[in-house]
Subunit: 161 residues, 10 copies
């Protein structure tokens, strides 16, 4: 059996169907990029479905079922109207994995500067993490390729009451 | 005296000169956007200098001195060769401010999906938080403007040894 | 088998009968709203029974037994006189799920202001979380529907002794 | 000098002007209810301004200046365009004060049930803590008056991307 | 099978014999009050034996064996000379269950006042939690019955050396 | 000047008037027992007033003013209608002082047994920490005097809704 | 089967062979004192081997094999050259068990005084916890026997470099 | 002025008189060993008085007054009947200083083995940290001197109730 | 079966194949030094592969397969393109094992001095933990052999933006 | 006045003399490298003296006095026989500064592999952090210079007792 996860500590945080999604993806050697094209989503969003951090639609399920050869009924049972992600529980705080830690460190070091600039540009409010998208691009560069992570969230002004 | 900070808990984390930078900026009503143009940096970077999270160069200091009318000698004394930022101590973990928390939540919810996509696109390594830049753009939108936060970091592959 | 839970981390916090309640509800596609009507409780209270945060009465059990087709004897054995909820252990602190975090943030940001107003209106005491009810209403609105969460608790003045 | 705060541990979390607001309110024996009427806000919102958790508008400041007899220039200097609240830092986690703890406990015990009901009524998303209002009402009752805390937040559906 | 525990999180903290004690008690519908009379202990002490927080004597075991119909050999094997309670691991800190939290809050709010009074009455020392007893009484009252928790510990003066 | 406090770490948690109460008490060598008689309260309650954990009434203040020779106006200014205790912040968690720790340990070891007995005797609810009193008695004993701490709280049944 | 452990929470921290050692010791009613004599070690050291906190030598294993009637091959397989204790993971911090907590409290209260005396007697360095021994003696006393815990560690001066 | 403390972080944890004790000791170059002889205590106990972890008697104060040339009235005012140590707050948990950490590690690694041996030798109870003494001896050794720390505490059996 | 791990708490952090690697190494009595020579890596790197902290290449797998007699297909399935280490989760923070704690303490005590020297020698930046190698050498010495741990990381200057 | 520190949060952790050392070094533009040569120590050790993490000898003080033009009496008063560093309190855990975090991450990721290799090469024991030295070297490299951090600690075998 293919080892589809990076270590055992992730296992109890995934449902058996999420485990099956990862396994099917590994066996069929389909990339998130390919699935993103099939589902019409960003790669990050597809990965979020796999990790149980986003709720797939009926249409997403139909396409996943076909791409990964998992019976539709198994998917609709698991991701039916009773399913709502319980988000945010995958990561330690602060994260111990170096890749995740670097993302966290960007906020830790540049968080207040970013807050100051958002307030100056938009006023008193926040950048939504719900009406939100994220994408990862590869910027090729002779001194080493660069990861460009674009986070796009609606500005929500504080309501006065 | 102008209240240049958002609350008192930030005060002990800033040096007296950093306090003076914020105050001068508030009194002269200069925005980070204007300073960014004067210094030739991103707004986030200028704010990072103000918050003591980045080390200004001699040239940065000369331009700040002129823009904020602070004697150059005061700046060079404070930011001389003996000064190196002790970064990352401004933020609680997890952050309590809602704007900062949303940035943190983006990592908490989408961190593993982002990690999975970076690995697929780049291989085994990380996105640098050192050889790194951040910028905040305003995307106008009829349903509400959007904050676009672009994080750009060099991919660093793990070295085998 | 229907996946009735949002992820695996909730599983060890529920008894096998609570798991069965969720499953039966999902299979029979009965909503909390329908169960609330059948049991004569608020939806939040019914959900609290499912999550083991409230103790159902004999009458509640009879109605649940009928609505979900679970033998009454199974329910009375599990929720008999020896059963008392061990409340409050479901949530991380602070919660990682964004919906739960927002509820927490409301207290974090507005807690002291609410305390000041309660003291001004009622005097020295607290709002009970025991002699208490909660309900969720949907307020339709052209700019987006609103969640109205009404928390109603008896004021308990501090006793002098 | 009037002791306007509940203990010393709050002091370093307030700016000197916020301290002055509390003091003026105590000396003039003006209630949050009266100020709420003067400013046209909910009492909780007025208290949030006092605690530095909300940003007062120019109009709010003019009315506060008059009601509390604080020179307008002092207020506009402190709450000018450079001021943005750094929210959420007042409370310990979990809160130690019993009134605040009860609010926290309501989320701790009933958080998942509320989440389940919101999802059933609204779908996959959150209740906003930004496009949000809170009010405290007194419900008189022969067995003891009741605190009715109404939290009203826009439902924000998760964006697919 | 009777569900004798309040939730699953307690399960791994009990040995299989402690589980069996709870189950036998539930099936035979024997109260702690009845067991207290049979064993000649306070109810709290009997419950402490069930939760593995006190070590039963040979005599206690003989009476438990008879009252709960568990073979004496099973009890003496489990609670033989090699058994010593590993106390204090049942509770989260601070406790999340509201009943337990209130006990904790009494110490949190009134701990220093109690310390001041003990010192005034007894001198420099502590109230023992080892040479100690606890009992719960019900005080009937027209406005609602009252729980009277009496904690009785030997005063231990600090030894000078 | 008399050192009225046990160490410096308590200082920032008390207001200047609370400090003055302790000092006046030490200088006049009045015990909490004497003040309790003068004020008509339990000693623990009087100590709670000194530590800012209870709100004194007008009558309490008049008696304190006379007993400690502090001008009434100073007391009424500090403990006027704007004052409400911010309770529970004095103690570390878990407490480091051995006397306080023993109180905490009693809950940690015997908390679940006490919960089980309260439920058996009263049903589903809690022991109030608000409608509550505490007293410390000295039980003389040839093997060493005993501290008897009596905690008396109203039983509050969970409300069904 | 004999219950050789104090509760279930210790179980996952022991290997199956360590479990077997405890069981064999309980069944054969051999004390640590007897094993200490057989192995030529202090009792504390023998117990440390049982808890996986010390690495037994070939000779220790041969004697344990004989004393506890466990085949030598089972012991040498488990404690072969590939085995090195992963020390220190048994205890919560701070420990919840009262016996362990008292040991911890001795350090918490008297740690700085002990440090001051060691520095005065030995200079700048530490007391080794590696080149170290511990023993427990019983000092009989008419007012109650006393535990004498002797900790003996090499003084290691800080190296200048 | 002599720097009598090891760093500034200790300063706020000591009263001004404790600071004066350390200073006088440093200026007069009196060792804890000499003071121990003068006061008739162990060195550790004298150091505990200096660190505010033990309450000096009238006689201790008279001898300290003479040895350190501090007016008796200053000492009796500070350590009068109103003074009771608030113990245990000096140390971080776990301690960061290597000398203190080694003491802590001894408990962390050998705590359960010590508990097992105490139970075997004494039965179900604890080693008192109140009816307790500690001393530090220097054992000269050709391979390096050894610190012998002897902890002596009364065994307190658990009371049955 | 050989016990290849130091205790049970490591088990859930390893995949079943990593467990198998340790077991095969123990059974065949191959050292990390020998494997390092076979694989052409530092011993630390080989151990990092075993602990799931480094990603082996195809060539590494082929050599491991041969050296440990594990079918290549098992290894390539587990360490295929879908495998990326989830690093850093093995260690408690701070570590409880004394060997690991000493490494941590070196950073805790000498971290700021090292930072100061790196800044002086290299400027504003960090020492990479990604473009990084570690090796352990044995330096023989008459007073006791020494461990020489050489950490070698690329200096990464902070990018200005 | 020269700003000799990296931010304000370090200030309360240093004594006034340590502050003066940093200031004198900055004003005279002497590097740690130069001081290291003058004092005959590694640069890291000199920086450790500045940060209060190492105790300077009489000879170190004489040389520092001369190099930094600080009167010897000031130094000997501060670093006299009564001074012993209270080590390890400078760093947050985990550290927030990226340079310090990378050092920490090296242990977090490679700690267990390093432990495994040390055990294999040396047996059961630790690498001393007391009989220890650290040095930082610059390794020039066309792709970017490298930081070589050499940690050298005596191997201390666990003593059997």
């Amino acid at each position: 059996m293919i080892s589809f996860l990076q270590n055992n500590s992730m296992q109890p945080k995934l449902t058996s169907l999420q485990t099956r999604l990862f396994q099917a993806k590994a066996e069929r050697k389909i990339s998130f990029a390919e699935l993103a094209e099939i589902l019409g989503h960003e790669e990050v969003y597809v990965a979020a479905i796999f990790y149980g951090q986003a709720k797939p639609t009926e249409k997403d399920l139909a396409r996943l079922s076909k791409a990964l050869n998992i019976p539709m009924s198994h998917l609709t049972e698991a991701y039916g109207p009773q399913f709502y992600p319980d988000r945010g529980g995958l990561m330690e705080n602060p994260p111990t994995d170096p890749l995740l830690y670097r993302l966290y460190e960007m906020i830790q070091v540049f968080g207040y500067p970013i807050k100051a600039v958002i307030h100056e540009k938009f006023g008193d409010g926040i950048m939504s993490a719900i009406d939100f998208s994220a994408k990862v691009d590869k910027e090729e560069h002779p001194n080493g390729d660069r990861v460009v992570l674009t986070l796009n969230g609606k500005f929500l002004p504080y309501k006065q009451f």
